[in-house]
């Protein structure tokens, strides 16, 4: 098999529900071993895109290749090599974590070691707890465990931390990083910028079914917006903030004035434009459009 071919290749992907266009011509690639993020507000088409790649939905047009397969026909060979964490999905309530992981392992040709997966997902303490008694965070860990037990090459994570408390989010991030360290390819969707920034090698920003920008989070920040944010406390103790394209000149001005007066500059900070700035700039520049991703979608 050609290991240099991208794990995911998407060309002019389109999806319509009647005359509602949820996805309007996406192009992107995800390289093997990469953590790639689809970032965008609700209704941007993230879940529709991921569910087409997972084989849950049929596309209306375009070319899609996942590990060299067309996911449209849901080939079993592809399902054996992919792990899926859905946005929300229940499981058998009367089975314990360990029983569930063991059962799922049996569905795959070359599963990972069950203890290893339980450890990786952070479920060691709750392995004998029945699924119906798990907390929200633990249930999400179980989602991860069930997606990983088949030892997939590619893992889909659809909004993996939505609704989490900060500690649970950190734990989930650790799991994603562990996946990356194992050399897995990860495609995740999120509407959290810090999440995209913390986890992704590259990010595509989606809005209304189109990609507005693609790139590494740090580069996106520099490329699209050139405004630095400089803030300090003035003589009266007020916090001042100014945006500038030329932070060097502003800083020189500020520091020389302070030195001349013989005082310090309290709380001085210089902020590089973050992904958040780019994101807000890109996704709010047009008047807010109505959501093009319908709540009700015919499932296959």
């Amino acid at each position: 098999m050609d290991t240099h071919a991208p794990a995911i290749l998407v060309r002019d992907l389109r999806k319509s529900y009647g005359d509602v266009h949820a996805v309007r011509g996406l192009d992107f690639e995800v390289q093997r071993g990469e953590v790639f993020g689809l970032l965008g507000p609700n209704g941007a088409g993230k879940t529709t895109t991921v569910e087409i790649l997972e084989g849950y939905r049929e596309r209306s047009g375009g070319i899609v290749s996942v590990l060299g397969y067309d996911p449209g026909g849901r080939p079993r060979a592809l399902r054996e090599r992919v792990g899926i964490v859905l946005q929300s999905s229940g499981t058998y309530r009367h089975l314990s974590v360990r029983e569930l992981v063991a059962h799922w392992a049996g569905l795959y040709p070359a599963p990972r070691d069950i203890d290893e997966v339980i450890e990786l997902a952070g479920l060691r303490e709750s392995e004998h707890v029945r699924a119906r008694k798990l907390s929200g965070g633990q249930a999400r860990r179980l989602d991860f465990a069930l997606a990983l037990v088949g030892d997939p090459e590619l893992v889909f994570l659809d909004e993996p931390t939505t609704g989490f408390d900060p500690a649970a989010r950190r734990a989930a991030w650790e799991t994603v990083r562990a996946l990356a360290d194992l050399g897995k390819t990860v495609l995740l969707t999120t509407h959290y910028l810090d999440e995209a920034q913390a986890l992704c090698d590259r990010v595509a920003i989606l809005k209304s079914g189109r990609i507005l920008a693609v790139g590494a989070p740090a580069q996106l920040g520099v490329g699209a917006s050139s405004r630095y944010r400089v803030s300090w406390r003035d003589e009266s103790g007020e916090l001042e903030t100014r945006e500038t394209a030329d932070p060097t000149a502003l800083l020189h001005q500020l520091t020389s004035a302070a030195l001349a007066r013989g005082v310090g500059l309290e709380d001085l900070s210089v902020g590089r434009p973050s992904l958040e700035d780019v994101y807000l700039e890109l996704t709010t520049e047009a008047a807010p459009e109505r959501s093009d991703e319908p709540d009700e979608e015919p499932a296959r």
Binding site: E54, G55, Y56, R76, R79, E80, V82, I84, L86, S88, S89, G90, T91, Y92, R93, H94, L95, E99, H103, W104, G106, L107, Y108, P109, L146, G150, D295, E296, E297, A299, R300
Partner: protein, 249 residues
């Protein structure tokens, strides 16, 4: 192929394990037909003729509860919970999954019928079935028919909260009209006509033939044909409408 069979067996084992994990559900699943048998058996205790009607009737009803009722409720629940969607993303073949569910229903039916037939013989003096091949064929046809119809019905049920209402709205009238509790031939003509169109009536006729009257296949061939026609319709609707995902919103 052997792989698909192994996965079917795995799914079956899992269904059995989960069934017994929820003992109260398992208990009531088996106890309802027994309760009816005890009640009507007591009411009819003076008349062997009535008892000979009630035992095959309850047996037919048992097939409907262990397949139709159980599957319709279960499929709606699993769909709404997102379990079906999750399974859809694994390499588990659909056939292996449904096969496992089907075997599970067959096992429950087998247990249930053993209890009903045993209790009928023990407490109500109804002879043990004398035509086992006929009994087996009718039970198999009944299981397939009502399992398919149960899965088909699950597609029409919008969410789990409304599932009991939908299921009972069909199940309760059908068991009354089809003559579970009395000889359907004694009902008013218009009810008799409706009963003649329903599969449970013919399943009970077949069971009655195998268990009580000693009728042969030749006598009950039309009954078997009608059950199989319903089975075919159910199977088509079950497969056609199958949805792995809850309707959202």
């Amino acid at each position: 192929m052997t792989d698909a069979l192994a996965l079917t067996w795995r799914q079956y084992r899992l269904e059995r394990k989960m069934f017994w994990r929820n003992p109260s559900a398992a208990f009531f699943n088996f106890v309802l037909p027994l309760l009816f048998l005890a009640l009507f058996g007591t009411i009819f205790s003076g008349s062997q003729k009535d008892l000979d009607i009630i035992v095959p009737g309850i047996a037919g009803m048992s097939i409907m509860t262990t397949t139709f009722v159980a599957l319709a409720m279960n499929m709606v629940f699993l769909r709404e919970q997102g379990v079906l969607k999750r399974l859809r993303g694994t390499p588990l073949p659909s056939g292996a999954y449904l096969g496992g569910l089907g075997l599970h229903a067959v096992t429950n039916t087998f247990i249930q019928l053993s209890i009903v037939i045993g209790a009928g013989a023990l407490f109500f003096g109804v002879d043990l079935p004398d035509r086992w091949p006929e009994l087996a064929v009718f039970v198999a046809a009944g299981v397939f028919c009502f399992a398919a119809l149960g899965v088909a019905l699950s597609h029409a049920i919008p969410n789990f909260d409304s599932a009991p209402a939908y299921v009972n709205a069909i199940f309760l009238p059908v068991i009354v009209i089809s003559g579970v509790f009395y000889d359907a031939d004694n009902a008013p003509a218009f009810l008799r006509d409706i009963a003649q169109a329903l599969p449970l009536t013919h399943l009970i006729d077949g069971l009655s033939g195998a268990m009580v009257t000693g009728a042969t296949f030749a006598d009950n061939l039309s009954d078997l044909a009608i059950v199989l026609i319903w089975a075919a319709v159910g199977a088509v609707l079950a497969v056609r409408g199958f949805s792995w995902e809850a309707r959202r919103g």
